[in-house]
């Protein structure tokens, strides 16, 4: 059909003859090839950037110092074959006034074009974060090649560069270790939870919620971190580890929570998937552990007599007793389970209240997103407090209730401790 039409067209155009169609097809094919694949990128000519770290320029001449961790695929592959083929990643460092400038400046050192579509993590050093995170992530939001669902983390007591240069044992690519560390912690203990670049850049809506970012530090001999020896010793001489959550205010780092407070925040942000709560035994010395398997947070916003907002949070937990290190706990009795549930609730409640206290009084940043809750539950009230929210937040009254249902006590009944 179409071929017939083309042929008719060819004949009308006077190319004519039986070979007209064939000639036309030839021309079309050549045109296809001539178009020249303008954005063809050879996979083996790309340097896949796995992580980006941003520090202040140590010489102070320029705004920032950028470090990229680039994967060396040939070494990643040879590792699985069993022959040690050198490091799996390498880093490049360059200074610049803007992030993109520094990236392009790196072309003086790299044999391959840097490729950012697979970047897993953005690490911003503490000092840089205090100056402001927003300018640093604009490139990530703006550039179509870079994903915004990369994780973001802060450093504590070390530089992003050092952190990216530290070799790791469990994962051959160090960034994988950092990234998965945060995810595992979020799922098992919840003192940190993963934050993505898009979470930070999309906070600008109504309610003025402030961002929180997990932080990383290096344990052990920091200077030994970048050597291959680091991972041949047991344990590694320098080990990157998770610290706690850092709180932003208007895109600038204003303070860190402690681990306990971080988890308090996680309860209130409904980020806890699974964690353990340590509870003092009710009638004897020692502790027992409750594993929280399911946690749910419900917010209600009320209004006090003088027109101030009151936040009412309800935490509904389900868990099981996983460990009893004291005698005399009769887990076969329903009342005992209820009692333990009550004790766990108190612990969780105090953690949450502590986080609220620190955020309201010390850090003074609405990382809880209460502004947003008020806006969503009581828009009229939000209109009244919106202008003064910065100061208002510190005095918002809150009421935390917590209920824990103990659903099991493991596969053993009475404690072995007598």
């Amino acid at each position: 059909m179409i071929a017939n039409r083309i042929r008719a067209w060819v004949q009308r155009a006077g190319v004519g003859g039986g070979g007209g169609l064939a000639r036309l097809i030839c021309v079309i094919c050549m045109l296809l090839l001539l178009s020249g694949c303008w954005d063809l990128r050879y996979l083996d000519k790309l340097g896949v950037v796995y992580a980006v770290g941003i520090d202040p320029d140590p010489s102070g001449k320029q705004e920032l110092q950028l470090t990229v961790q680039v994967v060396l695929p040939q070494n990643v592959a040879s590792e699985s074959k069993g022959s040690g083929g050198g490091p799996t990643v390498t880093t490049f460092t360059e200074t610049g006034d803007t992030v993109f400038e520094a990236i392009r400046k790196m072309s003086t050192k790299t044999s391959r074009r840097l490729f950012f579509s697979h970047t897993q993590m953005l690490i911003i050093s503490e000092a840089m974060a205090r100056r402001g995170v927003y300018p640093l992530v604009d490139l990530i939001e703006r550039n179509p090649d870079i994903r915004t669902d990369m994780q973001i983390a802060l450093t504590r007591g070390t530089s992003a560069r050092k952190l990216l240069q530290t070799t790791t044992q469990m994962e051959s690519i160090p960034v994988n270790q950092l990234r998965e560390m945060i995810e595992v912690n979020e799922e098992a203990y919840a003192t940190n939870y993963a934050t993505y670049v898009k979470d930070i850049t999309r906070l600008a809506g109504k309610g003025g919620e402030q961002g929180v970012i997990p932080s990383l530090r290096i344990e052990g001999d920091k200077s030994a971190g970048n050597k291959a020896d680091n991972i041949t010793s047991i344990p590694a001489e320098a080990v990157p580890s998770l610290a706690s959550m850092g709180v932003l205010k208007d895109g600038k780092l204003v303070g860190f929570l402690t681990s306990k407070q971080s988890r308090g925040l996680a309860w209130l942000k409904d980020k806890v998937k699974n964690t353990v709560v340590k509870v003092a035994c009710p009638e004897s010395e020692g502790y027992l552990t409750v594993e929280v398997q399911n946690a749910k947070r419900l917010y209600k916003v009320k209004q006090s007599g003088d027109g101030k907002p009151i936040i009412e949070a309800e935490l509904l937990l389900t868990g099981g007793i996983q460990e009893i290190m004291c005698p005399g706990v009769k887990v076969m009795e329903e009342s005992v389970l209820e009692q333990i549930g009550e004790l766990a609730s108190q612990t969780v409640k105090s953690e949450a209240e502590e986080a609220i206290r620190v955020l309201q009084k010390d850090i003074r940043s609405d990382a809880l997103g209460w502004g947003k809750e008020i806006y969503m539950h009581k828009p009229s009230l939000w209109k009244r407090v919106e202008a003064e929210w910065d100061t208002e937040f510190s005095s918002v009254q809150s009421n935390i209730r917590c209920k824990t249902k103990i659903s099991s006590s493991g596969i053993r009944s009475e404690s072995i401790v007598e």
């Binding site: 694949c37 954005d39 083996d44 579509s117």
Partner: protein, 537 residues
């Protein structure tokens, strides 16, 4: 052979006559002259004429007899050696003619000699009177014996067709685990009988035409009266009759000459060598075209959907059949798209691969001298060559080819670092997927289009794939098979017909025949009383 083909489906003889090659024109004229010549009453003269026309070919036997009726009337038998059954010839033709004495009384006065022979003497199933040379030659080369009698300017053609024929065997294509094991043979009559044995209904009608100026190939088409659409039958009859060609050696000739669309890689006529499949299609109201000399029977109208249906789909439980049907559709798309998607991802859309996979692929690409698209193109080509070689190879050499192909190309090339392992994986997987298609002709279409997609993917990435896919889709929506849109029941959308597409619904749900194949009777179960009537009532 096809070079000497006169143009098929010619409508008006006048203008095209000039375009015929000289040799063909000459040939046709000569044939016409012979055909127009009348039989003479003299046996000797007829024999001379025949010998002259047939070039004294030694396989044509002229047996002269004399009838023991007192007059010693000369009789001439003409037949082709090898095409007749010698025993039947002796027993049923020569013996009756050769009797010692004829009871002249039995030769009724009101019967002519020829009629008497036909009615009383010859013991063959079919014996017809023929008057002109055209018919004589036609019967002669079908394996009939021509009987001429002195003094009569006519002849009798007696059916003693025989000679070696391949028996019924299990079909080599579209094998089934469960289902009938018989396949069509090269004899059109045996094939039509096989269909009759499946559908024992007076409504199974057949028509026959002879196609091919030189090959005189009998072509039959069968349909179930009252089920098949009359317009499809008329259309088919018209198209078959308009074929003017020197020879038909396989149903592929017919397929190409009666197909609606000349410029398409997709088959618009279905071919199959399984009687059960053809019978099923007849029951759905389609028309089967049987060509002498090939076990492949054609079915029209054929929509794209038909090519994904396998005989076994209906012999297995519907849930299993549905799973296999889906698998077949998926495989088709893999066979069509996988190499091009690979090339597009590697060359343009690296951000779309999971990171771990990207690293693995990047590591494999280290040090490979060719760009990915060239690599894929070369490997696809090598595979096609290999496949063609295996098909044409004497089967004894097949093992060598698979060792050379599998080991040398699959392994050494990768180990030498000339081609990345990923491409070999992609190409082999594509190859396996392309074998899943139950119908060979659709598989070939996918093979061909794959290269266009590969070209588009290597120049324009996913955009190119989308463009070509769109083009293919447009094309598919544009073609028809005997008036039925090729994409039926997807476009035009026919909801009830979807029961036998991506899924194969339980038989107890498929109460109606496909609606869009122009069938005249839709109800499949709760048989329509109309169908029980005898035809012609």
């Amino acid at each position: 052979m096809s070079g000497r083909m006169t143009q098929g489906r010619r409508k008006s003889g006048g203008t095209d006559e000039k375009r015929l090659p000289k040799a063909v024109k000459h040939e046709t004229e000569q044939l016409k002259r012979i055909e127009e010549m009348p039989l003479t009453a003299s046996v000797k003269q007829n024999m001379e004429m025949c010998k002259k026309e047939l070039g004294e070919s030694p396989d044509i036997i002229y047996r002269e007899l004399e009838l023991n009726n007192g007059d010693n009337t000369p009789i001439l038998l003409i037949y082709v050696q090898g095409m007749i059954d010698d025993e039947r010839m002796n027993e049923f033709v020569i013996q009756p003619l050769h009797r010692d004495r004829y009871d002249v009384e039995s030769q009724a006065q009101d019967m002519t000699m020829l009629k008497w022979m036909e009615k009383k003497l010859l013991a063959t199933g079919i014996a017809v009177e023929v008057k002109d040379w055209k018919l004589i030659y036609q019967k002669l080369f079908l394996g009939y014996c021509i009987i001429m009698v002195e003094g009569v300017a006519r002849a009798i053609a007696a059916n003693v067709v025989g000679g070696p024929r391949r028996g019924i065997e299990e079909p080599k294509t579209e094998m089934v685990i469960r289902g009938p094991r018989e396949g069509f043979t090269e004899s059109v009559r045996a094939n039509t009988a096989m269909l009759r044995r499946k559908i024992r209904s007076p409504r199974l009608w057949m028509e026959q035409v002879t196609i091919g100026d030189l090959t005189q190939t009998p072509v039959s088409f069968m349909y179930i009266k009252g089920l098949a659409g009359e317009d499809v039958i008329d259309d088919l009859r018209e198209r078959l009759k308009s074929i003017e060609i020197d020879g038909i050696l396989e149903s592929g000739y017919i397929e190409e000459l009666i197909g609606d669309q000349k410029w398409t890689p997709f088959p618009t006529v279905m071919s199959n060598e399984r009687p059960d499949v053809i019978a099923a299609n007849l029951l759905e109201g389609r028309v089967a075209v049987l060509v002498d000399g090939t076990p492949f029977v054609l079915v029209v109208p054929a929509t794209l959907n038909v090519f994904f249906q396998s005989a076994e789909d209906y012999y297995q439980r519907f849930d299993i059949a549905t799973f296999l049907r889906l698998l077949r559709f998926v495989s088709f798309f893999i066979a069509l798209l996988m190499p091009s998607v690979y090339v597009a991802i590697i060359g343009y859309h690296q951000e779309m691969i999971p990171t771990q996979l990207l690293l693995k692929l990047a590591a494999q690409r280290e040090g490979v001298p060719f760009p990915a698209y060239l690599e894929a193109f070369i490997m696809e080509l090598v595979f096609e060559i290999l496949r063609e070689a295996v098909v044409r190879m004497p089967s004894a050499a097949g093992n060598t080819i698979s060792i050379v192909g599998g080991l040398v190309i699959g392994q050494s090339v990768v180990e030498a670092g000339i081609v990345s392992p990923a491409v070999v994986i992609v190409v082999s997987f594509t190859a396996i997927a392309s074998f899943v298609s139950p119908n060979y002709s659709l598989g070939i279409a996918a093979r061909l289009l794959r290269f266009f997609l590969l070209l588009a993917a290597s120049t324009l990435g996913f955009y190119g794939i989308a463009l070509v896919t769109l083009f293919i889709l447009l094309h598919l929506s544009n073609i028809r098979s005997f008036g039925v849109p090729y994409m039926t029941p997807f476009a035009p959308f026919v909801g009830p017909d979807l029961k036998d597409t991506f899924v194969r619904a339980p038989l107890w749900l498929m109460k109606e025949r496909p609606q869009r194949i122009k069938s005249d009777n839709k109800v499949r179960q709760q048989v329509d009383p109309e169908l029980r009537k005898e035809p012609g009532q």
